[in-house]
């Protein structure tokens, strides 16, 4: 099976191969169980040798399901019910189980999302790589030298010392490189990357992406790159497919699809991506994608689409070819000529009063013996938003936890409205607990799954204000209305809500006691980009309406511009730079900030993408 293969380069340093189609997927359909509804359907695309296809979609769009089907695999409960996956002409879906096993790893390789979970923690790096080769004997001539070679290819130094390390002794980026090395070591024809850089820092992310691209080029490997991150994909791939509710709704060259998107969903998605270049109103897409089995007869996006007409609901749209790309939208041609307004650009920073609502002076914090923060200085003027930016491990969450009192092992001085705050939450007066509210990063863990939304939102009123029952529920209902959640949400449980709705509940819980300072800790990082835009806009509106001071903690420099007036850049627990947002983003002084800015993935054609995206945004807004 693996022996004779016409297209594979024989030498390690074969000239770049391109042109011929490596992977050809036709009408792939995957269903739930034997007779259940389809999860994905009508998936067709081709990937030539040496090219990378980006498969983009939000959570639940079916992108991972498609990625696994490329290896002939369906998750438990799913069944590949129709279509073909041809790799160099062979349909993988027709292969008997034994042959398929021989193909996996040798000719089709998979790089999973979380490298730490994918590597066996008890095996050394060298052993792990040799094992991959041992499973497929005869694929390469000399396994020992191949291991060293592939290490160099993924830019890991193949010293004996490195080969002896265990996965936990490597950084996240190194772990993912080992994952890549395992995938590339048998010189596959196709490599499937499932969000391989999610969870890595921007800098690491970019280096890993460069490696993937150059390896695919030089060895003629076809790659499918699955991601929710449009900016990452835009910078990496030449061809991109956008998935929505189990279908590819737009596929074509990246410059076309992201430059002049035609499908209303693609347009909405692009409008939701924050830009570090300009301060703009972000526009999300309201509503959520339908689940398998509830997708109706017509276009799945119609319910959220500003261009929808009654015909859209009649039958599922067939792909239309416009300018070398396929779009599943019956109105694509009209949308192309539609007027495209620019998104609203925000005015300059609101000048806050000189006195600070919160000031942090010389705060140093430790976890056990390890120092996490040292000498942090920070001022939050009333009614203004300060962004705290940094990579993972920079101490930004610890800083937030010191301020709200969840972390008590710190020294220095934090004053709120003139009064000093004591370290732990236990000794703080009720009034301070009420006026400083904290919103957690992950809305999937910050809501008690056994309580209704109404109970969750009313609880702080009981705890902090001691209000009677009747008044609690009245105020909870009002604040739910304020975060755009209707009346009927009060009786629901968190697991009946989407990620965006959960985060709104968390925001409502913080706002219900009418705080003066809101500390938002990475509140959008667990959310899809279209939802992130909605939440950030919501926060900005509420901050303005309720005259809140806000600390917005994020790793995403691009978001800072849309919400904050001042920014503070943290590195290894110390402030490296602080000042107005324009200054930090446009004229960063510290080399670290410069690097952070340079590493932010940007859309291939940002200017055009913005313009076009704004159209859908304007139209989709209710």
């Amino acid at each position: 099976m693996t022996g004779d293969h016409p297209h594979r380069p024989d030498a390690a340093l074969a000239p770049p191969v391109g042109g011929e189609v490596r992977l050809d997927v036709r009408d792939l359909e995957i269903r739930i169980g034997a007779v259940g509804p389809d999860v994905v359907s009508g998936i067709s695309f081709e990937v030539p040798a040496g090219e990378v296809l980006g498969l983009v979609g939000e959570s639940g769009s079916g992108k991972t399901t498609v990625a696994l089907a490329l290896l002939g695999h369906a998750r438990r409960g799913l069944r590949i019910s129709a279509g073909e996956v041809r790799l160099d002409g062979t349909d993988l879906l027709q292969l008997p189980a034994g042959d398929l096993r021989a193909v996996r790893g040798a000719r089709v390789a998979y790089v999973p999302q979380d490298p730490a979970a994918a590597l066996n923690p008890t095996l050394k790096v060298g052993t792990q790589l040799r094992e991959a080769l041992r499973v497929h004997p005869g694929v390469v001539d000399d396994p020992g030298s191949r291991v060293l070679e592939v290490m160099r290819e993924v830019r890991l130094d193949p010293t004996p010392e490195m080969m002896r390390r265990y996965p936990h002794q490597l950084s996240g980026g190194q772990q993912q490189r080992v994952g890549l090395a395992m995938a590339f070591c048998c010189r596959p024809s196709l490599i499937v990357l499932d969000e391989p850089t999610t969870g890595l820092d921007v800098s690491t992310q970019r280096h890993v992406l460069d490696t993937v691209r150059s390896l695919c080029r030089s060895y003629g490997v076809a790659a499918v790159y699955v991601s929710h991150d449009i900016a990452v994909v835009g910078g990496l791939v030449a061809e991109v497919a956008v998935m929505y509710a189990g279908r590819i709704i737009e596929i074509g060259s990246t410059s076309k699809v992201f430059g002049e998107p035609l499908h209303p969903y693609t347009r909405g998605l692009l409008a939701a991506v924050p830009s570090p270049l300009r301060a703009e109103v972000l526009t999300g897409i309201d509503g959520q994608p339908p689940r398998p089995g509830r997708r109706g007869r017509g276009c799945s996006f119609a319910a959220r689409c500003g261009f929808a007409i009654s015909e859209c609901l009649a039958r599922p749209p067939e792909p239309v070819i416009i300018e070398g790309r396929a779009v599943r939208c019956i109105r694509a041609a009209e949308i192309r000529s539609a007027h495209t307004p620019r998104p609203a650009v925000l005015s300059g920073p609101a000048v806050g009063a000189p006195a600070a609502a919160l000031s942090v002076r010389a705060v140093s914090a430790r976890y056990g013996r390890a120092a996490v923060l040292s000498g942090i200085e920070l001022d939050v003027p009333p009614e203004s938003c300060v962004a705290v930016v940094g990579e993972s491990g920079s101490g930004k969450t610890t800083l937030a936890r010191c301020i709200v009192g969840l972390h008590s092992n710190w020294t220095g001085e934090i004053t709120f409205d003139g009064a000093r705050l004591i370290p732990g939450v236990r000794g703080r007066p009720r009034e301070v607990l009420r006026r400083v509210q904290y919103i957690f990063q992950n809305p999937y863990t910050s809501l008690n799954p056994r309580k209704t939304v109404g109970q969750i939102v009313a609880q702080p009123l009981e705890q902090l204000l001691g209000l009677p029952y009747r008044e609690r529920s009245a105020r909870a209902a009002r604040v739910l209305e304020d975060v755009s959640l209707g009346d009927d949400f009060a009786g629901r449980y968190p697991d009946q809500l989407s990620g965006g709705e959960r985060q709104r509940v968390a925001i409502a819980r913080a706002l219900v006691v009418e705080p003066d300072l809101l500390v938002c800790d990475e509140v959008t990082s667990a959310l899809d980009v279209s939802v992130q835009a909605v939440i950030v806009e919501e926060l900005r509106r509420l901050q303005r309406e309720r005259h809140l001071a806000m600390i917005f903690i994020t790793h995403n420099l691009a978001l800072v511009r849309s919400i904050a007036q001042t920014a503070v850049v943290l590195r290894d627990g110390a402030v490296v730079e602080s000042g107005p947002v324009e200054q930090i983003l446009e004229r960063p002084a510290d080399p670290y900030t410069v690097r952070l800015m340079a590493d932010v993935p940007k859309l291939a054609v940002p200017g055009q993408a913005r313009e076009a995206g704004g159209a859908a945004a304007g139209a989709a807004a209710p």
């Binding site: 259940g36 639940g60 999302q113 999610t198 009720r430 863990t445 309580k451 529920s473 449980y493």
Partner: protein
């Protein structure tokens, strides 16, 4: 704890109710719908039915001497007679309810004490944790039956004492399980949220943590019920339990074992009922465990959950 807010329109609360939302009931309901759970529940219910309805349908008084000892089964005595010539069938029908009641009470007591200890140890940490867990270690050092016997021989064989003693022997094991479950839950963000609201520790434990321990508590309850039955019948067999004229399955096995060759039914029937009951409760507990850890999740649920799992990013 505030109940559902009054502002909830009736439609929404009805929807929540329809979703089988009562947490305890929904777990039991889900377990009942698996083949394993249905089988376990059917077995256990059968025995419970016999024990509960038995005293009313028994044809003869359980302690009347009616015939010769160890009479073979006949039309008048379907299961024959025991070592004193009493009707085995009537004694079987009468001999279960006290046992079941004691087992249920002992289990409830053990779960309550164990859960309280486990939650406090895990949530309060520090000294309370060390104190509770070392006490647990000491009690665990004795085999359950020996510990119960020790208490009974010190204080005398009273029925309420048997219940307390058996319950107390369960508490340490329950406490350990609940402690490790609580350690996980008390680190969740929603617990931090209420700490930031200045909620008192007792309330955090009872209103935030306890409702999220339903799965391990249900599993433990099923398992401990099985053990309670075994231990209480064991104690009855050894003579600690209801006093001799009373009908009791454990006691019956002891009393009639010497007549096994003459009328085996006097031993086999009570033994079989105890076996069926323990198998039933154990199987059902297993079904609950499987439902709550998701082994028997329906495939479409599994797919949707995988797709909707929050992504890990920084």
């Amino acid at each position: 704890m505030a109940a559902a807010a009054p502002s909830v329109p009736p439609a929404a609360s009805a929807r929540a109710r329809r979703a089988g939302r009562h947490p305890w009931l929904s777990v039991v309901w889900a377990a009942m719908r698996t083949p394993r759970g249905a089988a376990g529940l059917a077995l256990a219910s059968l025995v419970v039915l016999i024990a509960v309805v038995g005293p009313w349908v028994a044809a003869k008084p359980p302690d009347a001497l009616l015939t010769i000892p160890y009479a073979k089964p006949s039309g008048q005595f379907p299961l024959g007679s025991d070592f004193l010539g009493r009707d085995v069938l009537s004694r079987v029908l009468n001999g279960g309810w006290a046992l079941l009641l004691m087992a249920a009470a002992a289990t409830a007591f053990g779960i309550a004490v164990g859960a309280a200890a486990g939650i406090s140890a895990a949530y309060l940490r520090g000294r309370p944790d060390s104190f509770i867990m070392r006490t647990v270690d000491v009690i665990l050092a004795f085999p359950q039956l020996v510990f119960a016997l020790l208490l009974l021989s010190l204080l005398g064989p009273k029925l309420w004492l048997i219940v307390l003693a058996v319950g107390l022997t369960h508490a340490p094991a329950v406490g350990r399980v609940i402690r490790s479950a609580t350690l996980d839950i008390s680190e969740r963000d929603y617990v931090k949220v209420v700490e930031l609201q200045g909620m008192r520790p007792v309330k955090v434990m009872s209103s935030e943590i306890l409702p999220n321990l339903i799965s391990p508590l249900m599993v433990e309850a099923g398992l401990r019920l099985t053990y309670s039955i075994v231990i209480i019948t064991g104690l009855a067999f050894l003579g600690f339990g209801q006093a001799p004229p009373a009908a009791n399955w454990g006691l019956m096995i002891n009393e009639n074992r010497s007549g096994l060759p003459l009328n085996p039914w006097a031993v086999i029937v009570p033994a079989a009922l105890i076996a069926l009951l323990t198998i039933g409760t154990n199987t059902f507990a297993d079904a609950i465990a499987r439902v709550t850890i998701g082994v028997e999740r329906r495939p479409e649920e599994a797919v949707l959950l995988d797709d909707l799992t929050p992504r890990q990013s920084q």
